[in-house]
């Protein structure tokens, strides 16, 4: 080799005549290309091209697999081995072909979601369903139209399947994902689509993963998430009105309950009072009756022992109490028959009637 090089250098210095070249060489070697043109020696370009080819082959024999990646090696088209992160050797291109696949990284694809930069730029940061809207627009089971944006996150679980079994596995994922979502949403009413996002996501994920496995895409779903589901803008006010009406209904019921609660416990209290008062009356009545009765009984017992005397005593005692209080007292002699000579006993008052 050293010999070839020396000869080459020599020739390059010697002559500046032009000569046809086979034009092989990397692009940054324009200067070298000029030199090649100047080579006179017939073996020169041939050896040089071999050298360049050898250099390229040598270069293609060393490769690096970065973290989270695997290197898939195909020998004459046949898959022979999978290499893990690190520096590796392989046969040169033409014999062994290297494909690097990122396996640990989570990839993400969106449907009708406008977090993409292109969409942001288009609408000036405003969140609208402009570009991806068609993907999110779907029919519900009650033949209404709903907007269901969602995202799918996935990993490449099996790079061999991913590369070799399916042509454009990620494109297929997109289409399968749309089909699966519509299958699930197509069996639900628009209300369910709006309110049961979790369930839909779970079911859709199951359907989709099954499809992906059946087609041997080598893709494993990490997450399938429904963003805010809605109805088309034109219909939204009427849906909001329903929510509002539902609230109104609740309010009406609660107000009525408030009235109920305001009146009933108070009325119960009042009723209790009425009953207590009646109980009080009963106690009062019975106690008094008992009192009076026992007073009479006591009196009677004494009276029974000396009836006449007691009767007289009671009669006269009454008069002792009553007589002085009486305003006009008239005494009539029992022998006077014609008219009644009146005697005003209490002259002080001096009242004549």
């Amino acid at each position: 080799m050293a010999w070839d090089w020396e000869k080459l250098q020599e020739n390059q210095k010697k002559s500046k005549k032009t000569q046809g070249s086979d034009g092989i060489g990397p692009p940054d070697l324009e200067e070298l290309g000029n030199k090649i043109k100047n080579i006179k020696f017939p073996g020169g370009p041939f050896i040089l091209s071999i050298l360049i080819v050898l250099g390229y082959l040598g270069y293609s024999m060393v490769y690096q697999v970065k973290l989270r990646e695997v290197g898939m090696i195909q020998q004459f088209g046949k898959f022979v081995r999978k290499t893990h992160p690190g520096l590796h050797l392989k046969w040169p291109n033409g014999i062994e072909k290297l494909t690097i696949v990122n396996v640990d990284g989570t990839r993400r694809t969106e449907f009708g979601v406008t977090t993409g930069r292109t969409d942001r730029r288009m609408t000036g940061g405003e969140v609208t369903y402009r570009r991806g809207m068609e993907a999110a627009l779907m029919l519900t089971g009650d033949l209404n139209v709903a907007i269901v944006p969602w995202i799918v996150q996935y990993k490449i679980k099996d790079p061999e399947k991913f590369l070799f079994r399916v042509y454009d596995a990620e494109g297929l994922l997109r289409d399968l994902s749309e089909a699966a979502m519509r299958l699930v949403v197509g069996d639900r009413s628009v209300n369910e689509v709006i309110n049961e996002r979790e369930e839909i996501a779970t079911q859709c994920r199951e359907v989709l993963q099954k499809e992906l496995d059946n087609s041997e895409t080598g893709i494993r779903l990490v997450n399938l998430e429904l963003k805010k589901t809605n109805v088309p803008t034109k219909v939204q006010p009427s849906f909001n009105a329903v929510n509002k009406a539902e609230q109104e209904k609740e309010t009406m019921i609660l107000t009525a309950k408030k009235d109920y609660n305001q009146a009933i416990p108070a009325a119960k209290g009042e009723a209790e009072r009425t009953i207590r008062a009646a109980e009080g009356y009963s106690l009062d009545r019975i106690n008094r009756a008992e009192g009076e009765a026992s007073k009479f009984t006591a009196l009677y017992n004494e009276y029974a022992k000396a009836k006449d005397v007691t009767k007289r005593r009671l009669y006269l005692e009454m008069f002792i109490d009553v007589f002085p209080k009486i305003g006009q007292k008239y005494l009539i002699d029992s022998s006077q028959k014609n008219f009644l000579p009146l005697l005003n006993i209490e002259s002080k008052k001096g009242v004549t009637k």
Binding site: Q74, K78, A179, L183, G186, A245, D259, I275, A278, A289
Partner: protein, 316 residues
């Protein structure tokens, strides 16, 4: 001469390499190969990937993809059973399972796409034309919570008419399309794996009326909620009235019973006591009446015959 030697060896080597290159070929993991000699198919289809040999120049290598491929259907409006148009977007998955047949009939993957468009799109049209929209949208007869169902008997009929019984469902429809298209594509060495409906939608001009219908449906629900609210409220207020009457009347009743019982008890107590000597009772009670009723405003005329004054006239 060294240089001549070198040149000759070089040429021989180059020629060798050239011939070697012409008589070898590789099959990728995603490929399968049919060898033809002067246009005639030689041997079996080669599906095993790796380095292969052939006769140089006279043998031609025809490579076909062996992996699963996707065909994206024509997006378009199709009439359904009731002549309503819907917008359908389908896709199918396929692979070349008989490359020789494929090679003889179609030759290239691009042509295959056209042929599939003819066959599958026709099948889609046929099947969709014989189904109602709902059959293609729904997948099963699953009961949905549509919030429109009202307990009143009158309105139930209205909602029932919208509740369609799903006889086929989307899976069945796509499998019908699949069954129509599969045998036709098999003639071209294509194995149809499945057909799916990617998107299904109303036509642009129908959407507006669908939206109106959706709004009307919501308005009806709004009214339902409002009247339900009013109804519930009235029910509660009625309950309140009833409860109030009940409470007060029950209290009144209890009070009356209590006082009645008390009066009865008192009466019994009095009767028990006074019946020992009714005359004495009258006497005592009468004295009470005198004591309570005679006062400063009363006038009393007493004869000397009376018990009180009899001693005034004479002392017997």
């Amino acid at each position: 001469m060294k240089s001549k030697w070198l040149t000759i060896t070089g040429f021989i080597l180059a020629a060798g390499v050239f011939i070697l290159l012409l008589s070898t070929y590789t099959i990728d993991e995603t490929e399968q190969v049919v060898i033809t000699r002067f246009g005639k198919v030689i041997g079996e289809t080669l599906k095993e990937p790796g380095l292969k040999f052939k006769y140089p120049i006279i043998d031609m290598v025809n490579k076909f993809p062996s992996n699963l491929r996707e065909w994206d259907g024509e997006k378009g409006e199709l009439p359904t059973l009731k002549k309503k148009y819907i917008w359908v977007d389908t896709f199918a998955r396929w692979r070349i399972n008989k490359p020789v047949l494929f090679f003889q009939t179609i030759i290239s993957v691009e042509n295959a796409s056209d042929i599939m468009a003819d066959i599958i799109d026709t099948a889609v049209k046929n099947v969709i034309a014989n189904t109602e929209i709902i059959e293609a949208v729904r997948n099963s007869d699953r009961k949905m919570d549509s919030r429109t169902d009202i307990k009143d008997t009158k309105s139930v009929k209205a909602t029932e008419s919208r509740e369609h019984h799903v006889a086929l469902g989307r899976t069945e429809i796509t499998s019908r399309i699949f069954n129509q298209a599969k045998p036709k594509l098999a003639e071209f060495g294509i194995e149809l794996v499945d057909v799916k409906i990617k998107r299904i939608n109303y036509r642009e001009d129908v959407r507006a009326s669908v939206y109106d219908r959706m709004i009307a449906e919501r308005v009806q629900i709004v009214e339902k909620f409002r009247s339900e609210g009013r109804g519930e409220a009235q029910k509660i207020l009625g309950e309140k009235e009833k409860k109030l009457k009940q409470i007060t009347s029950e209290a009144y009743k209890t009070a009356q019973i209590l006082t009645g019982k008390a009066d009865a008890t008192a009466t019994k107590i009095f009767a028990d006591a006074y019946s020992k000597d009714p005359d004495f009772y009258s006497f005592v009670k009468t004295l009470d009446v005198y004591a309570k009723s005679l006062d400063g405003d009363s006038s009393l005329i007493l004869s000397t015959d009376s018990e009180l004054l009899k001693y005034l006239k004479d002392l017997k």
